[in-house]
Symmetry: C2
Subunit: 411 residues, 2 copies
């Protein structure tokens, strides 16, 4: 069935008023005031459809529509609504709003389904605030510990644990959020590609075969602060110059492995004291290595570590490398991919198997139940950016394929 998109657009408009600033895009950091307000809007939308709402121990929102057979496992769909700083209208939010629209359609059209259908809004998918990604789905997969919740902190020093407490959740009951595999049949997430492959190749739907996983590092470099005028070049232990060499090493090693679809990025470089007339004494680098080929990722990781050591020894700089997260690439369920392909053919949509460079909650859920990730094109491949845009026909295609897939699974 090809669905109308007006409802979806209305829902996107409503939720994207929260955290929006002209010229700045949308900022709804995980568990922030804005995030909480947007989550309440989602709950309200689901209640209007008569769905049964619950929140688990880490704040994931669940909205359930019973099927005709209450003993069957549920069919799940969902995504997240938190954003990066100055993010766009679609990342995550599209998957949640499309899922609500699918629920609405099933409800309005009184479509019968045997399996219960569940919508989930994952908490804290973006790592921007707490330097840890896909928190909600990690909790479902049982791959999160209370000590991790306590150790991940935002820029103000607030731990993820305390932020959850503050919002009324129960991080100490983390284990109760684990999803027993027998409770769910499958999970489907609709998302924008966040790249430009589909757009360039003029393909409607991307069917993700594997999700790249990030390895994340923090490198602390300690040199010697000194006056920028009176310390001769040959006596310096400049932490920023060492950092510059490491940043270029990250890029070089990422490029060397790009044939294996591995990428490497230094996302931030913080300089202390950061004054114009002081040689930097301390620098922090934040590095993200991603790919779908673990061996290739590890080659980048090991080369960056070895070259950091070499650069710092040469420059007499102390360093400390902390691996903030280390995840494995995840292959997705072939049967479910086949099901999505069938539905594409039914709807007359072109499709392509592809990897996902970005991480998604699907990668955690895929560890416990069959899971599918469906991409639609975004304009210019731009994402995590206020200029994120999706063409109307692609919104329609995405909504239709999500609907067909959920119904074919829940029937």
């Amino acid at each position: 069935m090809r669905m109308a998109v007006d409802g979806l657009i209305r829902r996107l408009d409503a939720i994207n008023r929260i955290g929006y600033k002209e010229n700045d895009g949308i900022t709804r950091l995980a568990l922030s005031e804005e995030d909480e307000r947007a989550r309440n809007i989602v709950i309200h939308m689901c209640e209007e459809l008569g769905l049964k709402i619950r929140k688990d121990a880490v704040g994931n929102i669940w909205a359930r529509k019973e099927g005709t057979d209450p003993n069957l496992p549920s069919v799940m769909m969902g995504s997240h609504i938190d954003t990066v700083p100055n993010g766009g209208r679609y990342d995550g939010t599209l998957g949640v709003m499309a899922a609500i629209e699918v629920m609405d359609w099933i409800h309005k059209k009184k479509i019968l389904h045997r399996h219960p259908i569940e919508l989930i809004v994952f908490v804290a998918e973006e790592s921007s605030r707490f330097n840890i990604a896909t928190v909600g789905s990690k909790a479902l997969a049982g791959s999160l510990s209370i000590s991790t919740l306590k150790n991940c902190r935002d820029a103000d020093g607030i731990s993820l644990y305390d932020a959850l407490l503050q919002r009324g959740y129960e991080p100490e009951k983390l284990e109760t959020a684990i999803l027993p595999p027998e409770k769910a049949k499958a999970f489907v997430e609709l998302h924008i590609e966040q790249g430009s492959v589909l757009e360039k190749e003029k393909i409607d739907i991307g069917i993700v075969e594997a999700i790249a996983a990030p390895i994340r590092l923090q490198i602390q470099l300690i040199g010697q602060e000194a006056h920028s005028g009176s310390c001769p070049m040959e006596d310096r232990r400049d932490a920023l110059n060492a950092a510059a060499e490491i940043i270029l090493s990250v890029e070089k090693n990422g490029r060397a492995e790009s044939k294996h679809k591995t990428v490497a990025t230094t996302g931030n470089c913080k300089v202390f004291p950061g004054a114009m007339n002081v040689i930097p004494g301390e620098v922090y680098l934040y590095i993200d290595i991603r790919g779908i080929d673990l061996q290739s990722m590890l080659r980048v990781l090991n080369a960056v570590i070895a070259q950091t050591k070499e650069i710092c020894e040469k420059r007499d700089i102390q360093y400390a490398i902390e691996v903030l997260s280390r995840e494995r690439p995840v292959s997705l369920d072939r049967d479910l991919m086949e099901q999505v392909k069938q539905n594409c053919r039914k709807l007359g949509l072109t499709y392509k198997e592809m990897p996902s460079g970005a991480g998604h909650d699907t990668m955690n859920i895929a560890k416990i139940i069959p899971a599918a990730l469906i991409f639609i094109p975004c304009v210019g491949g731009i994402s995590h950016n206020k200029r994120e845009e999706v063409r109307l026909k692609d919104l329609k295609n995405g909504l239709s394929i999500l609907f067909e897939t959920i119904i074919s699974l829940a029937k």
Copy 2:
């Protein structure tokens, strides 16, 4: 006369309680609350000695002791008490406290002098807050404009002009702060070396022959923000990777000119948006080039500009280079240097002519009247740092040579 240092140490202790935090050193940014409190303490100290206090249009503090001949030009001494973030106990502050102590000594011992003696506390010597250095002495030398005061802003966007207004000064009357050359005979500043030449060579006093001048640049780099996982290495326009190449170019060009005593430093690198999963779209670099050989400095400047262009063209990065300040190295008065040498011999102190790598208020004053800059060693050459330290005997030597020099000039 060899002076006792107890008074000087008491004064340093008193003023350095302001802005001090354990483990963080001293932070008294120009025109901050802390700076203002410290300046009030200076005024109080000077009033106790019966000195006549005034503040000029930009907030320089003047404290005057009349001599026996009111028609003679004054002999000036002074420095500044604002600091870099997390600075030390001596930079600038030593010169002010020693000058007060010299006044105290002349007062107590009832030493006769024909010339008036004036103490000046220059405003905003450090560039840390407003990205412009030696503001107070620039005003005296007439090398400051109201538009510069309005254009230099701190991290919160407050202009130097507004900060002066806020503290009750009269930036619009900037011209009234200009020092007519006939009003002053000479200026003497006592300062720590901020390098380790004197310590290494075991010399008591540095007599500065020339002061290096900084050329300061801001380089803005604009690439393309994109998701760190889904944008292939070959499609990236990463502003931070371009910045890393420029940082290394600054270092390389500084090293190439180090035989001419030129140095080059990137003091800060600000990354936007600075999230772990976003390719940096925008970076600002802050660069400081210094030397006593203008041609050598210009070679570094031109090479950095040329290489920035090359790097940005290669990487498809937009860039904007702004020259924030561009000063010329200043040679100091030979006669005054000879006078200081004579006084060193009289006191039995070893001395050495040397350049000053760091800028000082003296360089501006030297453009209008004979000016001298006297260095004492600091431990390990460490400065602009909470670990800044001066040996007791060097404090004593510095105080004594300042006293002898002022008295020999004012007699």
